[in-house]
């Protein structure tokens, strides 16, 4: 029988660092999925995930065990991704004039018939990725967690460490910021 998370954590805290490896193996897919929502390049993603695991190892003593280890780890992951966004926010400025052909085609189809433009098209995903990259770090974090992952306000507050009112205020500002960016796309393409 495989040891439980609690048993592995207890072993690590007693000095058996090798017991950390099964935890890394078990939760890395989830952490990679989270990191890929905030970074594009695979080397950056691997660095973020490594930083998350290093922090998890160093702070393991602060894990009280009253909630699942996965929740504690996800809080750490989201906060590390937010730090990454803040550290890389200078790269946000870009223009929508350099759209790829599929992105351009998708926008044309949307302009012609908004209801029938396909949502599962890769071009639409690329467009939203471009828009998300231009958002400020808190706005991007909120749009990702609230609008794309459909997480409730309370859960976002727990994940990010922000208060519930702050999450609501930031959500309001984030939606306005996203609408402004999308209006910019429309303006650059059709004016």
């Amino acid at each position: 029988m495989e040891p439980s998370d609690a048993e592995l954590i207890a072993a690590v805290l007693q000095g058996n660092a090798a017991s950390f490896e099964p935890l890394v193996k078990k939760y890395s897919p989830r952490i990679f999925g989270t990191a890929r929502r905030y970074a594009r390049r695979e080397d950056e993603i691997a660095d973020i995930v490594q930083e998350i695991w290093m922090k998890a190892f160093q702070k393991l003593g602060s894990f009280r065990g009253d909630a699942p280890f996965e929740h504690w780890l996800m809080r750490l992951a989201v906060r590390t991704c937010y730090d990454f966004l803040r550290a890389h926010q200078r790269n946000r400025e870009s223009s929508f004039t350099d759209l790829t052909e599929p992105e351009d085609d998708w926008l044309d189809r949307f302009a012609a018939d908004p209801d029938n433009a396909p949502e599962d098209a890769a071009a639409a995903k690329q467009l939203i990725d471009r828009a998300l990259e231009q958002l400020s770090p808190p706005a991007r974090m909120i749009i990702q967690l609230m609008e794309i992952e459909d997480r409730p306000v309370k859960e976002i507050a727990e994940l990010t460490g922000w208060s519930v009112p702050l999450v609501k205020v930031r959500a309001f500002r984030a939606r306005a910021e996203l609408r402004k960016i999308l209006a910019k796309i429309a303006k650059e393409k059709y004016l």
């Binding site: 990679f32 290093m54 302009a111 433009a117 939203i128 996203l178």
Partner: protein, 103 residues
């Protein structure tokens, strides 16, 4: 083009394409190597570092106190001009009072 509708479509597109959760080959070995290579903080080194960081503020406070004792105006004519006399009088106040009472 309606930005509100575009926003809904694009967010739906983002939901329809969740990111991959693939883990690079032997990633857990990379993590374990990094963990074992990470320097273990030495308690004495942390203590020595803290002492060095505290040294500058302590020196600054000592200099300020020295300057203040030299520059501060005298409060009254009855007070002694000598700081060491004042200190001695305060520290030995209880002994002096007891001696006075016995006399």
């Amino acid at each position: 083009m309606k930005p509100g509708k575009l926003e809904r479509k694009l967010l739906a597109a983002a939901k329809a394409h969740p990111p991959s959760d693939a883990v690079p080959y032997a990633f857990e070995q990379r993590i374990m190597t990094a963990l074992l290579r990470a320097p273990v903080p030495d308690a004495w080194a942390v203590w020595a570092g803290a002492l060095w960081r505290a040294a500058a503020p302590c020196i600054a406070v000592a200099i300020l106190c020295s300057v203040w004792t030299m520059v501060a105006p005298k409060h009254s004519d009855t007070a002694s001009n000598n700081l060491s006399d004042d200190l001695e009088q305060t520290v030995l106040a209880a002994v002096t009072q007891e001696a006075d009472a016995l006399q």
